[in-house]
Symmetry: C2
Subunit: 354 residues, 2 copies
């Protein structure tokens, strides 16, 4: 089976878990299971309208659901044998991820997400911020109700993991937001990679490490598979930047070269700025500061980037990061289908054309 | 010492803990302690600017810091004897609370907070949402670094507690937002109390239960002290609504009777709607739907509410809730100063005039 097919098949299973976990209509029974017995009187109708509806409107837009898949593959490749038991926890990385992009869209004043108007443009900013933030805690219901009957030690490890990764996500977002805003002459490629390791790497790492913790992998194995996942996250982001310049279709409903218009400090841009002749560098800085919209100038910019091999460089960088971290985790993985899929996973996500 | 003085003295201690925990300038050392070793290169300057600055701008506006005080009193009244050891955890309820009102201000499009322009009007909405959300995970650093050397079981209990209370906070906010927006003829007083138990009760309950967990109280004691704290939270909110109609000063920089203008479904309003003659009820509904600004109409509304004793009713309700839950927790508490203060605490917060 091609990896794309495999991912699709898996995503249908994750969707089922999401539906089982978080009903589209929130009734008293579910609410009291989630929040404990209500002291006074619940307003199920209102909570459904302001939580379940915006959250499901978002979830139903789809997505590759690759984080839960990464979690499951890590679990199995490290020897986990009870996939069925841990399935309810697949909602954890998926809900944190969806919450974070719902919030991202507000922070970036985005208009489109997966071909549809952003949630805040449908439900309002107040409802959407609250719904997005709810998704940061919603999946912990699986932990605090402990229906999987996990040990205190395991639960503590999972909570620790989620907390540190959510902190990294925040730090990554903090960098990304400010970098867009102001002139950032101090930035280097290493800064960009760090931002990606936090912003895109965090939930990838969380997913893989969650799988590892659930199969009681040792700290070294857990760390190595986390790093592999992180490198996939970073490479995924770099590939996103590449596709924005040379791809056929664009994520987030973005137009070709929109990153240039936004002044995004990508690895590609930082590489060109470092390598370019003084004349080209000055021209490039001038363009970036002017936030151009004209396709002609966008094409000129891409031309300068290509002249210094920066797009090719970024592609190679993405591939080599994944390759290197794979080499380090590979010896720890049990031979078999999960291991193979995990390797394909890295290749698929970082070499994707869409 | 008067309780007000006591609270003030305590708040100075909490401020010290906050400063110790989260520096105003984030250097490499702190960041690596909090986030782990950076794989590539940190941008400390940017993270300081987009996280530490907005968070400190907010924290320095002050506040009563009553949640950490509640945590400490609960701990001691249930027999805890090592206050010094648990002090670093006082930042937990305080940071969650501050994060939640920073976010609240965006959701409500507020302009003033503690006499100063709201954070999002100073730093921008993107930075502020991200900073507020960061505060939802920031205090967990104390847990995952485990410098207090707590047992897995205790850590797990604290994480469980924070997760369920943050879910309740979200549910309360979900109700509050939607109730402001649309006509809500189905609402009763019991609904309002439930919203308060979630929205204002959650972090009060979290604070008290945190103190209880840290002294290894049994589940019954923990539950009872949580309920006492919850009732204080609810009463605090009711008193807020009362003061908005008849107070001398107003919280959040609100003007007199602004709740009427906003169409807020308070306990007072719901009580009047239930008790009023058909004529008065119709007039009241008409006024609420017109979102009046004129002081004359605001005063007319307050007059109708007074006619049916609704303001007095709300005040009494607040007092009786606290009294009742005190009676239930009281037998479980060790005699002494902490117990006395805990009682005064309820009285002070719910009978305050500001």
């Amino acid at each position: 089976m091609e990896f794309k097919e495999y991912l699709k098949k898996n995503s249908a299973l994750i969707d089922k878990e999401l539906e089982k976990f978080f009903p589209k209509k929130l009734e008293k029974e579910w609410l009291e299971k989630a929040l404990g017995k209500a002291e006074y009187k619940l307003d199920e109708q209102t909570i459904t309208k302001s939580l379940a509806e915006p959250i499901w409107d978002f979830l139903e837009r789809g997505g590759k659901r690759w984080r839960p898949t990464l979690m499951l593959l890590s679990y199995e490749a490290l020897g986990g044998r009870n996939k069925k038991k841990i399935m309810p926890l697949t909602v954890l990385p998926e809900l944190l991820h969806n919450g974070s992009i719902m919030i991202d869209d507000i922070e970036d004043s985005s208009e489109l997400r997966r071909g549809k108007k952003c949630t805040h443009l449908i439900f309002g900013e107040d409802i959407t911020i609250n719904a997005g933030n709810t998704m940061y805690f919603l999946p912990f219901i699986v932990l605090y109700r402990n229906e999987l009957n996990l040990k205190d030690k395991t639960l503590r490890k999972i909570y620790d993991l989620c907390s540190i990764e959510m902190m990294k996500l925040s730090a990554g977002q903090a960098m990304d937001i400010l970098w867009h805003r102001e002139n950032q002459s101090h930035l280097t490629e290493e800064h960009y990679l760090q931002m990606c390791a936090y912003k895109t790497g965090a939930l990838a790492r969380l997913s893989a490490k969650l799988g590892a913790i659930l199969t009681e992998a040792n700290p070294k194995e857990t760390e190595k598979i986390g790093k592999y996942a992180e490198s996939i996250g970073v490479a995924f982001q770099i590939q996103d930047d590449v596709l924005n310049l040379v791809g056929e279709k664009f994520s987030k409903g973005k137009g070709k070269g929109e990153d240039i218009h936004e002044g995004k400090k990508t690895l590609i841009l930082l590489h060109t700025l470092k390598k370019a002749s003084e004349e080209d560098r000055k021209r490039l800085e001038e363009i970036i500061e002017s936030h151009p919209e004209e396709q002609e100038i966008i094409n000129e910019t891409i031309g300068i980037m290509e002249k210094y091999g920066s797009i090719e460089y970024a592609k190679e960088k993405a591939k080599s990061l994944v390759k290197k971290s794979w080499k380090e985790v590979e010896p720890f993985l049990k031979k078999g289908k999960a291991k193979e899929k995990l390797k394909e996973f890295g290749k698929y996500l970082t070499e994707r054309e869409i």
